[in-house]
C-alpha cells in the first residue's frame, strides 16, 4: 500500500487557498509590484555562477569543493581573444594640457598624456564626446552613473550640490553588457566574466561611487582591497594547498587515536580515515591549470588608505593583468576613488584634495598646475598598466597581451570647475578592439551612447542602441575601425 496516503489528512486545506493565512503573505503581495534587491555575498554569487557555467546543480556542489576554481581553458575559436579594461579617474581634466590641438594621425601629446608617448601609434584620443543624459542627479552623479550605462538615474534621495536628488542608474553598464555577451558563448566564457577593481574607493554605496551596473538598481561595488581581490582570485586554490599540507599529520593522528578505542569508536575512525584518503585522491586528481608557484606575489601588510594610493594602484594593476593573463576574465574596470574623489596625492607634494582643487578657476595657475600633475599621475598609472600588458606575453605565446587588449581611460566630467558633461575624456590604448589606432579624433557633441555601442560592436555584439534610445541614434561610430 502507499504509505504516503497516510500522511495527508484528507480534510486539511492547503495553505495556499487559505485566505487568512497571515499578514506576511499580504505584505509580500503588497510589495510584489516593487522591486527587490538581493544583497548576496560576492563569493556566493560567483560560486553560483561558476556552478551554473559548469552546468551542474547545487546539489552536487559539495563534491566539487576540492576543485580549484581557476583558469578554465577556453576552446580556441576562429575569433581572437579580445579584452576590454575601463579605467576611471575623477573630477575632469585640464583641457589645455590634455587634448591634442591636431586632428588625425599626426598629433602631438600634451603634458598630461605625455607619459604615453611610446604608445602614440596605439592610441585613439576622442575629443568632443558628450554625456547627454539628463534628468535627476547632479553632474558628478550622472557623470558617474550614466558614464557606462548611457541611461538616466532613477529618482531617489541622494542630493548633490545641484539638480534634483537621484538614485541608481536605470540600466546595466556596457562592460556588463559585453561580459554577458561573452559569457553566453562557451568559447569566450571565463570564470568571472568581469572583475571590478578599485583604488581607494570610499566605503560608501552611493551614485557617486558606482559606475558598474549589472542591471537597473544593481550597482556592483569595486573591490579596492588587493588582498580581497587576491582572495577572490586565488582563495580556493590557497585553501586547497592548506588542506593538502595537513593530510599527513591528520592521517597519523587518526591512526594513533584508533588504538585506544573500542570497536564502535574504531569503526568510526576507520570510516573517517577512508574519507581522508578519498579527499587526498581528489586533490591529487584535481585539475591544475595554474601552478601555485606562479601565483602573483603582492606585497603584504599594505593598509588600504589614501597615503598608500601609489602602492595600492600598482598592486591592483598587477592583479588585473594576472587575471587577464590567466583568462579568469576578459572584461575589467579599474576605478580610482570615485566621482568627486578627494584623493590627496601627497607623494606629488600636493596636500589639497583633488575635488577641491578641481573647483578652482582656470585663472588659478597653482591649481591648474596641481591638477595637471594629478592627471599626469593617473596617466602614469595607465602607462604602468599598458607597459605590463605590452611586456606580458599571451599564455599561448601568440604575441603580447596589449595586442588583444584595449584600455579605455575616462572620467565623469569634461572639466572640474564647470562640471560639464561635454568633452568627456575618452582615451584608448591597445589593440583589443580592431579600431584604427594612432589618431586624434574630434567630434562635436557626439552622444557617448554611440561610443558605448561601438565598444560592443568591436566584440562582435551588434547592438543597435544602448541605454537612452534617443542618444543612441546613429548607432555605431563607423570611422573608428
Amino acid at each position: 500500500m502507499n504509505h504516503l496516503q497516510h500522511i495527508i489528512p484528507s480534510d486539511s486545506p492547503t495553505v495556499d487557498n487559505h485566505p487568512s493565512m497571515g499578514s506576511c503573505r499580504s505584505q509580500s503581495a503588497k510589495s510584489g509590484s516593487r522591486r527587490t534587491r538581493s544583497q548576496r555575498t560576492e563569493s556566493n554569487s560567483s560560486r553560483r555562477e561558476f556552478l551554473k557555467y559548469l552546468g551542474v546543480s547545487s546539489a552536487v556542489a559539495p563534491f566539487l569543493w576540492n576543485l580549484p576554481e581557476v583558469g578554465f581553458a577556453n576552446v580556441v575559436s576562429g575569433r581572437r581573444k579580445q579584452r576590454l579594461i575601463v579605467m576611471f579617474s575623477p573630477n575632469g581634466i585640464v583641457p589645455k594640457n590634455f587634448w591634442p590641438d591636431e586632428e588625425g594621425g599626426d598629433f602631438k601629446l600634451k603634458p598630461i598624456l605625455k607619459p604615453l608617448e611610446k604608445y602614440k601609434d596605439q592610441m585613439l584620443i576622442m575629443n568632443g564626446v558628450s554625456n547627454k543624459i539628463r534628468g535627476d542627479g547632479d553632474s558628478h552623479m550622472r557623470g558617474m552613473g550614466c558614464l557606462l550605462t548611457g541611461i538616466e538615474l532613477f529618482p531617489g534621495n541622494i542630493q548633490g550640490g545641484s539638480h534634483t536628488p537621484a538614485g541608481w542608474a536605470k540600466g546595466l553598464s556596457i562592460d556588463q553588457e559585453i561580459k554577458n555577451y561573452l559569457q553566453k558563448n562557451p568559447e569566450t566564457r571565463t570564470r568571472f566574466g568581469s572583475l571590478e577593481f578599485g583604488v581607494v574607493v570610499p566605503n560608501k554605496a552611493d551614485p557617486w561611487t558606482r559606475m558598474v551596473f549589472a542591471g537597473p538598481n544593481q550597482p556592483i561595488a569595486p573591490i579596492d582591497n588587493p588582498y580581497d581581490m587576491f582572495e577572490k582570485m586565488y582563495g580556493k586554490l590557497n585553501d586547497q594547498q592548506t588542506i593538502k599540507s595537513i593530510l599527513d599529520p591528520l592521517k597519523e593522528e587518526l591512526k594513533s587515536v584508533k588504538s585506544s578505542l573500542g570497536s564502535q569508536g574504531r569503526n568510526l575512525i576507520e570510516q573517517h580515515e577512508t574519507f581522508v584518503r578519498e579527499m587526498e585522491i581528489e586533490i591529487q586528481a584535481g585539475p591544475r591549470e595554474v601552478n601555485p608557484k606562479a601565483l602573483p606575489t603582492i606585497e603584504s601588510g599594505v593598509k588600504n588608505e589614501n597615503d598608500n594610493m601609489p602602492l595600492l594602484s600598482r598592486m591592483q594593476i598587477e592583479l588585473l593583468v594576472n587575471s587577464l593573463q590567466t583568462d579568469m576574465t576578459r572584461v575589467a574596470t579599474l576605478q580610482f576613488t570615485r566621482s568627486v574623489g578627494g584623493a590627496r596625492l601627497k607623494s606629488l607634494g600636493i596636500e589639497e584634495n583633488h575635488h577641491a582643487l578641481s573647483h578652482e578657476s582656470d585663472r588659478d595657475k597653482d591649481a591648474q598646475e596641481k591638477l595637471t600633475k594629478i592627471d599626469t599621475w593617473f596617466c602614469e598609472q595607465l602607462k604602468y598598466l599598458v607597459d605590463k600588458l605590452a611586456t606580458t606575453p599571451e599564455a599561448d605565446g601568440s604575441g603580447m597581451m596589449l595586442d588583444n587588449t584595449t584600455v579605455v581611460w575616462t572620467n565623469e566630467l569634461g572639466q572640474g570647475n564647470s562640471h560639464t558633461l561635454n568633452n568627456i575624456p575618452f582615451v584608448m590604448v591597445g589593440g583589443g578592439l580592431d579600431f584604427k589606432m594612432g589618431r586624434s579624433l574630434k567630434y562635436k557633441k557626439l552622444a557617448h551612447n554611440r561610443l558605448l555601442i561601438s565598444l560592443a560592436h568591436a566584440f562582435g555584439h551588434h547592438i543597435e542602441s544602448f541605454g537612452n534610445k534617443q542618444h543612441s541614434h546613429g548607432g555605431v561610430i563607423s570611422e573608428l575601425s
Partner: protein, 880 residues
Amino acid sequence: MEKSPSGHFIGRCKRRDSHLSNFVSKHHSFVPTVRNWILPDSDIRCCKDQKKQSMPNMKLIPTRSFGLLCVLCCFSLYGMTSYHLASPVCAQTKIPTMDHRHRSALQEGGKIYEASCADCHGGNGEGVEGTFSQPLHGVMTLDELTRYVDATMPEEDPESCVGDEAKEVSKFIFEKFYSLDAQNLRNPPTTVFSRLTRVQHVNVIADLVASFSNRRESIQTKHGLRAAYYSSRSQRRNNLVKERIDRQIDFDFGEGVPTFKTLKKPQEKKIKTTEKPTPPSKKTEKESDKQVDPQTAKKIDGKEFSIRWSGSLIAEESGEYEIIVRSANSVRLFLNNQRKALVDANVVSGDLSEYRARIALIGGRSFDLQVSVARHKEKTASVQLCWVRPSGVEEIIPSRNFSVERSQAVFVPNVKFPPDDESYGYPRGISISKEWTESVSKTAIQTALHISKNIDRFVKDSKDKVAYKKSAKEFCGSFAEKAFRSPLSKEQKSRYVDSPFSGDVTVKESIKRSLVLILKSPLFLYVDLAVETPSPAFWLAMTYWDSIPNREIQDAQNRGQLMDKSNIDWRLEKMLTDNRARIKLRHFFEHWLKLAEFKNMAKDTMLFPNFDEKLAEDLRESLMHQIDDAVWGEVSDFRQLIDGKSWFVNKRIANYYDAEIQADDELEEFRKVERKNGRGILTHPFLMSGFAYSKSSSPIHRGVFLTQNVLGRRLNPPPDAFPPFDGEIAKTWTTREKVEFQTKPIACQRCHCLINDLGFALEEFDAVGKYRKFDNLKPVNPTGEHMNADGKLVKYADAGELAAVLRDDRGVHENFVEELFQFLVKQPLAAFGSDSKQRLMKHFVDNNFSVKKLLIEIGKVAAFRRPNHSVESNENVSSQ
C-alpha cells in the same frame, strides 16, 4: 505486507528507509524527532540497548515524524502476535518493578520455560533458527504477555500452559529477557563514542574563537530595541527628540512623521554612542514621560527625520537567516558587524523598497544589531524589519528576538552540515559521512581565514619577526589546548604547532595550517577523545550549552572548585541563566511536545475564520511563556506544567479565547492570567490545535501523544493506513463516536483502549483548542480511565481530572526525567549507572519536582558519573 518473520522486518525497514531519504532530501534541514520506530520488537531492543554493534550503519526510521501526519494511526500488534493469534488484551496493564518479584515463582517459571519453550525460543529467548528465529524481546506488558501465553502458547498445545503456570512462565520471560529493563540488565547500555553534533560544532567554534576576546554570552534581558528619534537626517545629539524602547520595527508613517504622545527633554538621558554599549535605561517609558516639560520638548517638525534602533538580535535556531528590510527611505542595517553594513540602502532609487540579505546565525546567541532609517525628501516614510528563519516563513521579527543589550561580534562559520543521526530520538554524532568531513573542512578553513584576517586580535603585532613567530606559535598552542580540552603532549605540540611553522611559509599561512589541522583533528571532533583527566567543566558546558566551558567555569575546575560538590549548585544554576541553556531547554520542549510538526497549522476558514498564522505564532509563544514560567519561575515545578491553572495571553489570544486582559495592554504584551477551562500545557490551545485536523479535533493524535510522550509508553506502528472515518451514517455522531467505531476491531483495541481514553478526555477542546460542551450538537463525553505505571486503574471525568492524574503519575515523571536527560546529554541515561534513573527520580521527588534542580542534578550526573572518564563514577552525587 510480508508475513514471514524475517522478511517482514527487512521489507519494512527498506521501504521506510527510502521514504525517509526522500523526505530528507526534500527538506534538507529536516530534523526527525523520534523515539518510536517502525521496527519490530527485536530492533527496538537494538535501539535501546545500543550494544548491537553488528549493525553500525543500520538506519532506524522514526514513526514519530509520521505521528501527526498520520490520518489515523491504527496501532496493532507486531512481532509475535503478527503471526500468532492476536489476543484481545489491553496495553493498560501495570509495569511490574523488581520489588514484586517472587523468587520461587521465577524458579518455577524457569522450569516451565526450560521444558516447554526453550526448544523453539532458545535458552535465553535468543531464538532458534528454523523455528522461531526472532529473539523474545518486546513491548508488551507483563499482563499482556501472560494473557497472550495463556491463550496461545505453546503453539502445538495452547491448553497445556494456562492459569498460574502461564503467569509464572510469563514472569520468567518478562524479567529474564523480554522487557526493556531485562534487556538493560543483560546488556547494560554504555555511552557511545560520538563526534560533535552540528549544533555543538558551530557553538564550539564560535566559543573557541570568542575565548580569545572578551565576548560574554548574554543572559535574558529586556526584549525590544532601543530607539532614538531625531529631527534630522544627521543623528546628532542636538537633534534627538525621543528615546524609547520599540518592540518591533514595523512603522508606516505615510506622509507624516513619528509623533509622540508626550515628549521629554533629550538631555535627561544619556545617549549611547555606537561604539560603547551602555546599559538599558532603568526608567520605564511611563516614568520618564511624567518628567517631560512640554515647553522645552522637541519634536519632529519638518518632513526630515531619522531613527536609529540598536540592541541585539537573538537567534533561536542555527542556520542561514534571510533578513528583509522594507523601507521607502534610506536605510542601513548592521548585524554582528559594526563596521560593515549587511544591508546598505542608503540610496533610495526608483521604486526600490525591499532589500534582502543572508547571514548565518547560531541558536541561543545574541548578535549586535543596528538599524537606521532616514527620510529626506521622499514622499512617504516607512520601515519594516522581517526575517525568514532557517525553518520558518517570513515574519516581522518578533520582539522576543530583540534584546536592548548590545553584543560583541561573534564568529559564525557559514557551512551547512548534514543532519545528525536521530535514530535514538535525539540528535547525536554517532555516524559520519563524506559530506560531514567536507563540512568540517570548510568550517576549519573559514575559521582559520577569519583568524588570519583579524590576526591582530589574536597575536600581538611585533616588528621583531622571531618574537612574532613565537607569539603566533603560542596562540596556536593555546588554541589547540582549548580545542582538545587538554594540555598538549610533546608529540602533539610538535604535530599541531611546530611542524606547521616549519618550512618556507609565511607566519600567516603557518597559523592557517596549524588551525586547520587542529579543527580537523579527531582530538577536536570526537568529544570522548582527549579528555584524559576528568573534565566536569567540559561535560557541564556540553550538557547545558552544547559548547565548551567559559573562562569562569574552566577556572573553577582548574582551581579544583568543581570537586567540592556540596558547593557547586550555584555555579550550575548560573550556567543555566545563560541564553544558550534557555534556548536548549526550549528546544527540548519543542522536541518533547512535538512542536516541530505543527507547521502550517491551517484551520478551516468557515469554521474558524479568525484563526490565522499570527494567532498560531502567538499561541506558540504563549505556550513557551507558560513553560518558561513553570521551569524558570520562582517556583520551578514540573507539576505546574501539567496542571497549572494559569496561562499567558496577549490581546489577540484573549480576544479569541475569551480571556480577561486589561484593556490598556499593548497588543503583543503577554500577561499571566487564570485559565477558566483547561489546565497545564497539555490542554494548551497550541497543542490542542496542533493535534487536530483543520475542522475537527483528533483524539487519536492527542491520545498517541499522551501515551508516548507523556506517559512514556511505547506503541507499535499501525499495520496499515486508514483514512479518517466519515461515513454517511456518522453524520450525527460526535468525534468520539466516530473514533470508537473505527477502532473497534480487536487488533486496534490493544493500543487504542489506552490511546482513545486519553484522547477523549481532551474532547472538551475543539480543533483550535477552544473549550466546548457540545460536539456535533451532542454533549461532549470526556470521561476515561487507564492503568497507571503502578498498575492502578485511574479514572477521570474530564481533562482537568486527567491533568490531576498525570501530574502525580510516576510513569510521567520517569519519562520526563529520562527524555530530558537524553536530550541534554545525548547518551542513554542507563549508561551512567543502572541506578541513575532511580537517583534522579528520587531527587526530583524530594525537591518537589523542581525542573531547575533536576537540571542541576542532570548536569552533575553528566559531569561526574560519565563512564570511563570519571574517577568518581561510583560516588553518589545526589548528596543533598
